[in-house]
């Protein structure tokens, strides 16, 4: 029995009333309580268990990354509207007083700030690519990460967050290595979510590229089947929410960061990421807001 019969507003209200999320005043940003975090940790652990024999190296990166990474991967060509560029104050004390005065007078103060060398990380896989520069070993590379991601898309809709966590895997190597790994995980991801009582499906997808040119990029991405998503209903049955996303980047990052395979070719990469808050929300929607009352096969899988 879905918690709120697929109504975005009721679902948001339900999460708040159950104390699971705590609004902070800005859409798409909220706190999470211990119950929410416990489900998230348990799901993340299931993912770790699934991948335990894969030999992935584990990394955690902070929410801010080198601005040059964003520039190198053409992020601003594709998603200029989603980027979170960090600005700060670099002036002298007199100007700091003017800044303070502007704020206290309720005036705009953006003119007192300038761009820093960091941006909020918009995609969980980005921070690791600079470390791949050079030649990857014959068996390729496999890493996994637990990273905060930022996207400037304020929305009242609870699954469309500005800041959220992704459990990410990145594979780097020959095209065959990368695609075989992606296909293996597509099945794994689907089975994992199904085993938690979620009606999951996989489908070809595209990124929300900016503008009219973006429609072209999205059509090209779909046609080449470069992106897949595993979805489940959270706020709508007709338009299920992407819980896990699989991207085959071909040579995009290999070229940007000078990554080569042993035979001297530009390396291919692919990544997959579980949107952890979304998985948790899908579970609350499917099984109700109190995990203690979830049916035993779902509860026992998360809390064995």
């Amino acid at each position: 029995m879905p918690a709120t019969a697929y109504d975005a507003e009721k679902f948001f209200r339900g999460l708040v009333d159950a104390g699971l999320i705590i609004p902070v005043g800005v859409p798409g940003i909220f706190g999470r309580n211990h119950v929410f975090e416990d489900v998230l940790d348990r799901f993340n652990k299931l993912v770790t268990d699934l991948a335990k024999n894969d030999g992935a190296e584990y990394f955690v990166y902070p929410p801010a990354i080198d601005r040059k990474v964003l520039e190198k991967v053409d992020y601003m060509d594709s998603f200029p509207d989603l980027a979170g560029t960090v600005f700060s104050f670099k002036g002298k004390e007199l100007t700091a007083r003017q800044l303070s005065e502007a704020i206290h007078n309720g005036e705009s103060w953006e003119q007192y700030e300038s761009m820093t060398d960091v941006v909020l990380n918009p995609a969980a896989c980005y921070p690791v690519y600079p470390s791949f520069t050079g030649t990857v070993p014959r068996e390729g590379k496999l890493v996994t990460m637990f990273n905060w991601v930022f996207r400037n898309e304020p929305s009242q809709e609870p699954t469309r967050m500005q800041s959220f966590r992704v459990r990410e895997f990145v594979r780097c190597g020959t095209p065959d290595q990368v695609v075989e790994w992606r296909d293996m995980w597509l099945q794994r991801g689907l089975h994992l979510l199904e085993s938690l009582g979620l009606p999951a499906h996989s489908e070809v997808a595209s990124d929300p590229f900016f503008g009219k040119g973006g429609k072209m990029l999205a059509a090209s991405q779909r046609q080449q089947k470069l992106k897949f998503e595993v979805t489940a209903p959270v706020i709508s049955e007709e338009k299920p929410t992407a819980l896990c996303s699989f991207n085959f980047h071909q040579e995009h990052f290999g070229e940007a960061f000078h990554i080569r395979t042993e035979d001297g070719e530009v390396a291919n990469t692919a990544c997959l990421g579980f949107g952890l808050e979304r998985v948790v929300m899908a579970l609350f929607q499917a099984h109700g807001f109190d995990p203690e009352k979830w049916r035993s096969e779902v509860h026992d899988k998360l809390w064995p």
Binding site: S78, K212, G213, K215, M216, Q223, Q224
Partner: protein, 83 residues
């Protein structure tokens, strides 16, 4: 200047091709010649400016830009529609 030569000039400026556009025949695959998806967006926007047309959504696909001949045929149909 005919449409093909205008298209070649746009490709030279915006296509980021790995090869000299003058060495390509009208049916050569532009993606094979190094045009990326992002470059094809710039080509599309430049074509809109040059020919004073608007690409409708159904033409914003890979095949519309795969060769000089393909681009010329799309441009012809758009200029005919707006004439």
């Amino acid at each position: 200047m005919g449409n093909e030569s205008k298209i070649r000039a746009i490709l030279k400026e915006h296509g980021r091709l790995a090869k000299d556009v003058d060495t390509l025949d009208d049916n050569a695959d532009l993606y094979q010649a190094g045009m990326t998806s992002h470059a094809s967006v710039n080509v599309m926007l430049a074509l809109e400016g040059e020919f004073d047309v608007e690409f409708p959504d159904e033409m914003l696909k890979r095949s519309s830009f795969e060769s000089i001949a393909a681009i010329a045929s799309v441009v012809d149909s758009l200029t005919a529609a707006s004439a």
